[in-house]
Symmetry: C2
Subunit: 193 residues, 2 copies
Amino acid sequence: MARPAQFERDDVLEKAMQAFWDQGYNATSMASLVDATSLKPGSIYAAFGSKEGLFLAALDHYAQQSVARIKRALADADTPLQGIRGFFLSMGREAAGEHAGRSCLLVNTVLEISRQNEMVQKRVNRHLADIEALFLHALKTAQANGELLPDKDPKALAAFLMTSIWGLRVLGGTKPAPARTKAVAKQLLTLLD
Amino acid sequence: MARPAQFERDDVLEKAMQAFWDQGYNATSMASLVDATSLKPGSIYAAFGSKEGLFLAALDHYAQQSVARIKRALADADTPLQGIRGFFLSMGREAAGEHAGRSCLLVNTVLEISRQNEMVQKRVNRHLADIEALFLHALKTAQANGELLPDKDPKALAAFLMTSIWGLRVLGGTKPAPARTKAVAKQLLTLLD
DNA sequence: TCTGTAATTGAACGATCGCTCAACTATTGT
DNA sequence: ACAATAGTTGAGCGATCGTTCAATTACAGA
């Protein structure tokens, strides 16, 4: 062994993630990442290899938080469907909030760089699939419990819910009125009835 | 008068639009715009003032085509609701197609630069509002004709349809299977019944 | 207390960024 | 034919981009 690292990896990833989330991948320069993380360029490159490497690590960090948040929302509710409803209503509220313009790092990544970078594309698609699996599981459980009507298709509904999240994220980027985001969230949730 | 311009403005805007659409705003350099348009830097700056000016003009060009396309889809159908249904089903097909990864220039712009550029934000929001107005008009007509149930809220539905378009555009960026995009489009259209 | 190893530092690299401008060319009105 | 005017050209500006690296510093094991 030798000299140990002087930074906490998770601290650095959190700060880098915020920078990429705020500004987007291309608009976030190494100089601004140096500012945000308080690391020197050499340290960043020693730890993450490249700007892309740091971004991928920050993306994983983001996805981990997203998955945890959705798991919590589903687990805290009385029933699976109520968990889903609660999550989308809070997403609707969030989409009208102050920080809504940042959208979601995964969605931003799909549209900004996924197309030109196969590695990023596979990573972000995997994270999105993980999230969809949470909803699919909740929907299947709801159907088994009789909470969701038997004629509904959980797979199709899960795909629809993911698409709805993405739509709400873009909606948040248009500086919408709270009533507007709430109305959209309510509309889409009627598909669960 | 003096020497007339040697390029067609619409040709240049079409080519610039394609470049921005393919690569995103930040990833599209002036050098690549020079390549795409076959103009020299000086001519671009004389005609559009800046990269941002060219982008705004290209954005207007894109929006004009989008509005025209939706108007046509609505006008060609037998009824307003059939027009909407047809448009979303074709969007679903498109989202699984080869060029789906480019998403939509307006959506890309909301997420990539709208937040950091107020002028761009206002412009893209205006274009999106124009599109929403087309759907709102079709929904109101449908309700007046009895095609849409009287208890439906056309404004809320129009907002939902816009959000659905955005979701489908992101979906297209995830390289989805055709069956997946079709299922999502069908799901969201059931809200019109 | 040394020695080996790994992390830190910050100046600086070549490449590319958005953009400018003086020289040049083509077209107009007289 | 001749100014006057406006579009075209492309070399090249200063700034910033992502990245590298030799020198330095701090800690673990013997």
